[in-house]
Amino acid sequence: MFIKEYFGTIFKSIKSLLTGMKLTGYYFTHLNKIVTEEYPDNRATLKMAERFRGEVIMPHDEKNEHQCTGCQSCELSCPNGSIKIITKQEIQADGKKKKRIDTWVYHLDMCTMCGMCVEACPTTAILMGNEFEHSQYEKKYLKKVLNKPGSRLKDGVE
């Protein structure tokens, strides 16, 4: 009885080990099963999912106009204060003073890509972009100003 059990254990063990080796052997001989995507070489074809949140962007149209009114709801909704909006008073053509953004500071180094600012924005002035290659040698390059120099608010956006 003991002998039977002893050899039974041995054969069962060897069988289980061979099952595993069969699987690794299978993949070793079937190189078409390799799933690797070669990242830096496939940059041309690499496409992020359209909803992927890589960074906050502020689209500007060809006239260098954005849609940010400076209402600061994004700044309020940001849970960790990655957004700082500095506003200024701009004198309109009709002489009225209006609040406009001066600099839209975006701390990419702190941003957690939660997307709450985009949800909160009433004028869809900001969007989540797909860019993910943000590596930098220096921290200071991660602090960004999103409104382009000389840009202004698009007409009709309040």
């Binding site: 390799i34 799933v35 690797t36 995507e37 070669e38 990242y39 830096p40 690499l46 890589g54 849970p79 960790n80 204060g81 701390h107 990419l108 180094d109 702190m110 941003c111 957690t112 890509m113 939660c114 993910f132 290659e133 943000h134 590596s135 930098q136 040698y137 220096e138 921290k139 991660l142």
Partner: protein, 175 residues
């Protein structure tokens, strides 16, 4: 942005006369070897560590660059990828790990937490606001957590830095 465009070091770029033919060649070879054989320390504290594991996995496979030799002991590692929040209690440990690594050693700050405290910047009493307060950082890769591709990108960026190591050091000395 191409990889080459990323290669902007602080300070101005000047052509410097070579120190000597043999030495520069040897330097080149050493830097080539170092840049292509970056062994990371198996160190992860939180979410970013999971994305680091994803970078190891078959789809992204950083072994293509020769990074797959993850060492559990700092003595044999060249690179420490700080993946995840560092808190005040962990800071001395991180410093010690960094000190235990033999030269030359590199640091990648992965994710918002390590760069600046990220989600834990305000109203927190225990989080270190950026690991550059503790150890020098070579490459910052923002994101929360960064995609595996972003980590790969940062490691390629680091490779570029190592390849131009001698030049980079000169720039630092000048400061």
């Amino acid at each position: 942005m191409g990889l080459k465009d990323k290669l902007e070091f602080p300070g101005q770029i000047h052509e410097t006369p070579d120190g000597g033919f043999v030495l520069t060649k040897l330097d080149d070879i050493i830097n080539w070897a170092r840049s292509n054989s970056v062994w990371p320390l198996a160190f992860g504290t939180s979410c970013c560590a999971i994305e680091m594991m994803h970078t190891v996995n078959a789809k992204y496979d950083w072994s293509r660059f020769g990074f797959e030799v993850m060492r559990a002991t700092p003595r044999q590692a060249d690179l420490i990828i700080v993946s995840g929040t560092i808190v005040m209690k962990m800071a001395p440990v991180l410093k010690r790990l960094y000190d235990q690594m033999p030269e030359p050693k590199y640091v990648i700050a992965m994710g918002a937490c390590t760069i600046s405290g990220g989600p834990f910047f305000y109203n927190t009493y225990s989080v270190v606001k950026g690991i550059d307060h503790i150890i020098p950082v070579d490459v910052y890769v923002p994101g929360c957590p960064p995609r595996p591709e972003a980590l790969l990108h940062s490691m390629i960026t680091l490779q570029e830095k190592i390849k131009n190591d001698a030049y980079y050091r000169k720039q630092v000395d000048k400061k």
